[in-house]
Amino acid sequence: MRRQKITGYSRLFFIVEYMKFDSGLTSDYRTATSNAISALNSKNISPVNYYTKLDSANNVYQTLSLGTNKYGQYSSYNTGSDPNHTATRFDITYCKMYCEGFNKTYKTPQSTGVHELGHAAGLDDLSSGSCIMNTQRNRESIYTPKTDDVNGVNASW
């Protein structure tokens, strides 16, 4: 499991990741993100915990498209010479064009939500494996963190 970056607000020995739903985020994406947060928090991914907070600087957006075959995006803003360990805030964006459509249910945007929050927890993309960070996963069947994802986060802290 490759490690990527560490973001968040450190409180001694655990990290709290707050985020806020953008005013334009529709109810299906709010639900998808809430489900993604619950899925991650229930996995005992020590020491990362996610919450929503109205005044958070971290945003959850949606848009029509980010380009062909793109489901979502994670952008982290860092200050310091070590971008992997100094994120000051992040944005998550859902792409409606690919999160919705034929044979897709609420699981696809939830899968994207968990994937992007996995980045916020310090994980990088993978191209294989039965895990949420595999960009080639079936999003309708993998929409919660798997053992490899949990091990990856725990190993990075």
């Binding site: 450190s10 957006y61 848009t63 380009g67 010479s81 100094t86 690919y98 960009t135």
Partner: protein, 217 residues
């Protein structure tokens, strides 16, 4: 006794220092620029959740343009709208893009002719004291030769197109040979020098472009 006190004080000081660092939650390291001034290095890291292509025929079908060419110039980065939040034109979300000028040598798809200059944009670059970095898309360099697939989706019609599926859409040529990158090895295509259906291996450029031309759009 005195020694023991010194030890306790030293250990306490070290502990205080470590706890202070932890409470701060992030470390900020200063860098020095060319003029000797101390400055902070700001970075924006971009990662995507995307689905790679499995075969080149679908890539060609989805692409706006496909052509063989050489990167003549890599321009200074500019800030462009990456997307509109909730599709609201009054809420642009900006990102830094680097635009490259590529001279067409062989047109495979699109209204292009040899000698044309095509611009493509890639997310990333240094602008306004900030380095923008796409984890999925290394920036092109001048002199790079390749076969380029462009993404037909544009947030603004006046912008140059992006590359289709990051580095999967750029087949770099070295000494007349295409050696696939990590996103391209699973692609299937049959050419004279690459008969395997198990995935793309090194292939001669002429065989590759001939095979591409024979694929339906």
């Amino acid at each position: 006794m005195k020694k023991a006190n010194y030890k306790i004080v030293s250990v306490s000081l070290i502990l205080c220092f470590v706890i202070s660092l932890t409470l701060l939650g992030s470390k900020v390291i200063t860098m020095t620029n060319e003029s000797g001034q101390s400055q902070l290095s700001n970075t924006v890291q971009i990662g995507n959740d995307y689905e790679e292509y499995k075969d080149i025929q679908t890539m060609k079908k989805d692409a706006g343009m496909v052509f063989q060419g050489t990167v003549l110039k890599v321009n200074k980065p500019v800030k462009l709208v990456e997307f509109y939040i909730s599709n609201d034109k009054s809420r642009p979300y900006y990102a830094a893009y680097t635009i490259s000028d590529i001279q067409v040598e062989k047109a495979i798809k699109g209204k292009l002719y040899p000698g044309d200059i095509v611009q493509i944009k890639q997310l990333g670059g240094f602008i306004d004291d900030t380095t923008w970095n796409s984890q999925d898309e290394p920036l092109l360099t001048e002199g790079t030769q390749g076969v380029f697939f462009t993404d037909p989706y544009k947030v603004n019609e006046e912008y140059p197109p992006s590359v289709l599926m990051f580095e999967q859409g750029i087949f770099k040529i070295n000494d007349g040979i295409i050696k696939p990158n990590k996103l391209q090895t699973n692609l299937t295509i049959n050419t004279k020098s690459n008969e395997s259906s198990n995935g793309l291996t090194s292939v001669k450029i002429d065989d590759f472009t001939s095979a591409l031309e024979n694929l339906n759009d």
